[in-house]
Each structure stands twice: as C-alpha cells, then as structure tokens.
C-alpha cells in the first residue's frame, strides 16, 4: 500500500513533533524536578516517588539556606564578585577598546599583534598560578575580579563597535575642549549601550557561575563562592559511602541534599531572570564561543 506524498508528510510532521516534545521534556523536566524537590521536606524526599509536585511542601530548605552562614556567606561573595567583576571588567575592557578604536593611533599594529597572540596562546595553569601568587592575588577577593578585567574577545568586539561610531560625535566634543576620558565617559558610553549590555550580561553570567578560580586560587573559607559550595557537596556525595551519610545528616526535616537543591535553585534563578535579555544577544554570544574555541 503506497502512501501519498501528503500522507507521508503528515507522518513525518507527527514524528518531528513527537521527537521535539521528547527533547523538550528532557531539557525542561530536570529543572522542574529540582524546583519541586527544593520545596519538599528533605527527609520526605529521600523516599522518592515525587514527580510532578511537592508531597510535603515546605520552605524550610530556603530558610535554612538563609540562616546557615556556610551558604549565605557564599551567596554574598558570589553577588559581590558578580557585580564588581562585571562593572570593572566591562569598564576596563571598553576603555582599552576605545583607545584602540582610533584608526590613526600610533603603534596600532603592534598593540593588535600583542592582543591576538595573547588570545591564542597561554602559559597554562601552573605558571599563571605562580604569577598570581607573586603579585599577592592568591587567597584574596581580588583574584575573582582582577585577572578577568580584560577579555581579549570582548576587546575585539568593542573595538569594532566603537570604530563604527560616527567621528563627528567625538570631534565636536574635542572642539568643546573635552579630554579623552570625558569623551569616553560622556559621549561614547551612552551611545554604546547595546554593546555594554551584551558584555555585562555575558561577563555577569560567567562571574556568577564561576567556581574554578575559587578551587584553584583560594583557601579561605570566607571567600568561597556559591558555585564552589555546591561543588563541595557534589564531590562529597558522589562517593557512594558518603551520600547516605549526607542524606542522613538531617536536622528538622532538612537534609544537606535538600539544602543543596535550594542552593541550586537560588543559583539558577538570576540566570532565568536575565534570560529574556540574554536571548536578544544570543547569536553574538555563539560567535563568542566559537572564537574562544
């Protein structure tokens, strides 16, 4: 029995819809599951069989998160590093980019060579560690924000952007006697908001999610980031003997597992909040990934 083209098309359409629906579930459900579990009583969650909504609804996990200094301190460190790291990084990168965006800048070629070379080659972790150590950044808050102040990728993006700003804008400010810093601050930045927004969003997400620097370069318990704290719990609970012990180290219905679920929701929440804004700049962001390779 031969199928007509029409019927074939219809079968294919349903097939595609079914596959996409399965993909949707696989992508979405893990987030949903973590969310409902974080609102469920920790000791109750251990018995399993929670799939669609909390069985023993509670806010305990979040209350505990906010009252446990171990967690809320890490949360504050993450917030502060994200805000300061983003502002500092975006300002510094765009300031350097502004200088380089002048076509008639002397030594321009040399500067560019230096930047491109630094983009493709690196000394690796160990010498980098030695450098951070000898300039006193190790085990300090500065290690989160200073070494990431200049992003070579965003530098190139910003140079292209500033170069396309009409020269008359700068010239008229020059005639008014403004110096370069004032021009940058008062004339260039206000017309570069799309660029600043893109850089801020991607830098901010990176700062917020970052835990490797906390693992590599910091020993002080007061400087741990939220992502690092979650990593600690996960590393401990991956060892099979430990996971039951961790689950049982409960008090008043909260287990360290349920506490971690709350931490996960709290760490994903800001990203979901900026998600609509991030989406606007996605394609540019993919290019970011590909250049960084």
């Amino acid at each position: 029995m031969a199928l007509s083209q029409r019927q074939k098309d219809r079968i294919m359409d349903s097939l595609i819809t079914v596959i996409l629906f399965v993909i949707f579930i696989v992508m979405f459900y893990p987030f949903y599951y973590v969310l409902i579990l974080s609102f469920n009583k920790g000791t109750d969650s251990l018995t399993g069989a929670i799939y669609f909504w909390p069985r023993a609804f509670t806010l305990e996990n979040y209350e505990r998160f906010l009252s446990d200094p171990h967690w809320y301190k890490a949360f504050i460190v993450s917030v502060v590093r994200t805000l300061s790291g983003t502002v500092l990084g975006v300002m510094f990168t765009s300031l350097v980019a502004y200088g380089l965006s002048h076509q008639n800048l002397l030594f321009r070629k040399t500067y560019f060579t230096i930047i491109i070379f630094a983009m493709y080659f690196s000394g690796g972790l160990i010498p980098y560690y030695v450098v951070l150590r000898s300039i006193g950044l190790l085990n300090s808050f500065g290690v989160y924000i200073i070494p990431s102040m200049l992003s070579t990728f965003f530098l190139l993006i910003a140079i292209t952007f500033f170069r396309d700003i009409p020269g008359e804008l700068k010239e008229s400010a020059h005639i008014d006697g403004a110096n370069e810093f004032v021009i940058f601050y008062k004339v260039i930045l206000p017309v570069s908001m799309p660029l600043i927004a893109t850089m801020s969003l991607f830098t901010g997400v990176g700062q917020w999610n970052s835990w490797l620097d906390s693992a590599y370069f910091v020993q002080s318990e007061n400087l741990r980031t939220l992502a690092f704290r979650m990593m600690e719990v996960i590393n401990k609970s991956n060892a099979p003997m430990d996971s039951i012990a961790i689950a049982n180290s409960a008090s008043a219905g909260v287990t360290s597992y349920s506490l971690q679920l709350a931490a996960m929701v709290i760490s994903v929440l800001p990203i979901v909040c900026v998600y609509p804004f991030l989406q606007k700049y996605f394609v540019q962001g993919v290019m970011l990934g590909s250049v960084k390779g």
Binding site: Y33, L95, G124, S134
Partner: protein, 327 residues
C-alpha cells in the same frame, strides 16, 4: 646637489619626527588607556607564557617569579618522568577517549536538532523548545552535576528509585560511581548542556537559505527528506566546516562544549578514577595539590603543544578540502 638632498632629507626627517611626537602628544591619553591594557596582558598573559620554561627546570614555589629564571635547568627530566609515570597510559587514553567521544556526539547533535526545529510546522512550539534547549548552556557545570546527582545517584536518584519501584531493576544502577559509565555520563551531560546553544548557529545558517529553493524543489517533486538533504544540509555546509575546525582545534579541552576538566573534576571520584582522570585534572592534582610545579607545567605543556598542532593542522586540512578556513 648631493649635499642639498641630504639636508633636504634631514629637514624632512626632523619634520616627520616632530610630527610624530606631536601626534604622540595629542594621543597621550589614548596611549594611557591602551597602555593599561598592555600592562594587564604583560602580567596575566605574557609572564605566564615565559613562565612555561619552568617545565624544563627544577622550580620551587618559594622562590617566586624570579625563581623561574634562576632555578636550575634540567632539560626533559619532567617530561620523561611523566612518560614513565605508571598512570601515563591510562591518563592519555582517558583524555583522548573523552575528547573524541565528545566530539563524535556533541558535533552532530546540534545539526540534527537544528534540522528538526527548522522542519517544525508550529512556530510557537518550535520557539518554546528552542528557548528551553539553550537554558542549560548558561548554568554552571556544578548545577548540571547536581541535577545529574538527583536523577542518577544510586541511593537517592529519581531514576533509580522509579525503576526499582516499578520492579524493572532490583539493584540500583551505579552510573555515577562506575568506571565503565563515566565516559557515557560525560558525553551525555555535555550533549544535554550544549546542544541547544550550538543549534543557534546552525539555525542561523538555515535561516539564510533562500526559501525559493524549497519551492522549486517541491515543484520538481522532491520529497521532504530529499529537500532536507539537498537544500537544508547543503545550505549549512559552510557553517558546519567552520564549526568542525573549531571543534577539532579544541578537541583536547572537550571540543566546542569545552568542559573536559570540569566534568572530570565534578563527575570524577575515587571509584571511577581509572576512566575519569585526564591530563588536566592530573596536572592540577600534582601541581597545585602536591606542589610539584615543574612536573605539572611539563604535563600542561605537552597538552598545549598537541592542541596547537591540532588547531593548525585542522585549519590546513579544511583549507585544502573545502576552501574555507579560519586564518
């Protein structure tokens, strides 16, 4: 005559020189801005690059930066030591296996998803699926590991509990703590996290295809699959090549999804160590944890050299094969 022209040249030269200094003076603030950036790169990018010579020395951390230059040369001692390390074979195997498996699966996955999405008739549905699919890209690997734990853990993982209560299995699956499952776990979670993100770039390529091509093909009697094969796929080809070059160049870090280190670090544990230890985690452990800096730098350097060779050779091959290349 000759004297004249040399005087002339001198005048012209000094004129040019004064002009040069005038320009420099006028640009002094700009040079200050750029100079700050250069100082930054000197400290955080170039000093570590020079520091790599410690791989050929017996460096001790207590001597600081200066020690990198003053410590004693030992040639290839640390490289030989790594090659003779009893774990060398295992670590290299894990690094290569993980890298190639990840590329094998994470490279085609977004191409397939992009084609599926472009074929979807309901635009609202397409948009929803796409929006959800790239959310995982923006969350930390730590959270992904946490999610994996809550689903797959042998004790409290949802999947194990559900399968056990349904009577499908009578012993929990030890996906997180079995050396045989680590590679699958790493590849699976990498696909989950990054497939949606890379789909964007392929969807952009599909969006650039002239729609009249599809109409013409339909009139010519081409079926759905034929159209996908001959139009959609052909239209994506250039993008596929560029992404493939980038992937192969960064293969040792995990291809375009990166993250080999983070996965090995987060999903690795004492039980699956025989398959989860890779060059990067090993360098991290012997270097920062055990304080064997020169040895770790040598291990790092081997990986970097292989990566650079891969970047240039994949670029060269792509240039030869298809005419498109990165540089």
């Amino acid at each position: 005559m000759a004297l004249d022209s040399s005087v002339d040249r001198n005048i012209r030269f000094s004129k040019r020189r004064t002009q040069f200094f005038k320009q420099l003076k006028r640009q002094k603030v700009l040079h200050l801005f750029v100079g700050l950036g250069m100082i930054f790169l000197l400290i955080f990018a170039y000093t570590p690059m020079f520091g790599i010579i410690m791989a050929f020395k017996d460096y001790s951390i207590s001597t600081g930066i200066k020690g990198i230059f003053t410590s004693e040369w030992v040639g290839f001692k640390h490289f030989n030591e790594f090659i003779n390390d009893y774990r060398f074979g295992e670590i290299v195997r894990n690094t290569l296996a993980l890298s190639f498996l990840k590329v094998l699966f994470t490279f085609p996955a977004p191409i397939i998803l992009a084609i599926l999405l472009s074929e979807a008739k309901n635009l609202r549905f397409k948009k929803v699926v796409q929006t959800v699919s790239y959310l995982p890209h923006f969350i930390s690997w730590v959270v992904v590991a946490g999610i994996a734990f809550s689903f797959l853990s042998a004790d409290i993982g949802m999947i194990n509990k559900a399968l056990m209560s349904l009577g499908i299995i009578d012993k929990p699956l030890d996906i997180l703590t079995n050396a045989d499952h680590f590679w699958g776990l790493a590849v699976g979670s990498a696909v989950w996290k990054e497939v949606g993100w890379w789909t964007i770039i392929f969807l952009a390529a599909i969006a650039g295809i002239n729609p009249t091509l599809y109409e013409a093909a339909q009139i010519d009697g081409a079926g759905r699959l034929a159209r996908i094969r001959h139009i959609t796929f052909q239209g994506m080809k250039g993008t596929i090549v560029v992404v493939l070059i980038l992937t192969i160049g960064s293969i040792l870090g995990g291809g375009l999804v990166g993250s080999n280190f983070e996965q090995a670090f987060l999903f690795g544990n004492s039980i699956n160590n025989s398959t989860s230890e890779i060059v990067q985690t090993y360098a991290f452990k012997v270097g920062l944890r055990d304080g064997r800096f020169s040895y770790a730098a040598a291990i790092d350097l081997i990986q970097s050299i292989i990566s650079v060779i891969l970047i240039f050779s994949s670029n060269y091959i792509a240039k030869r094969a298809s005419g498109s290349s990165l540089f």
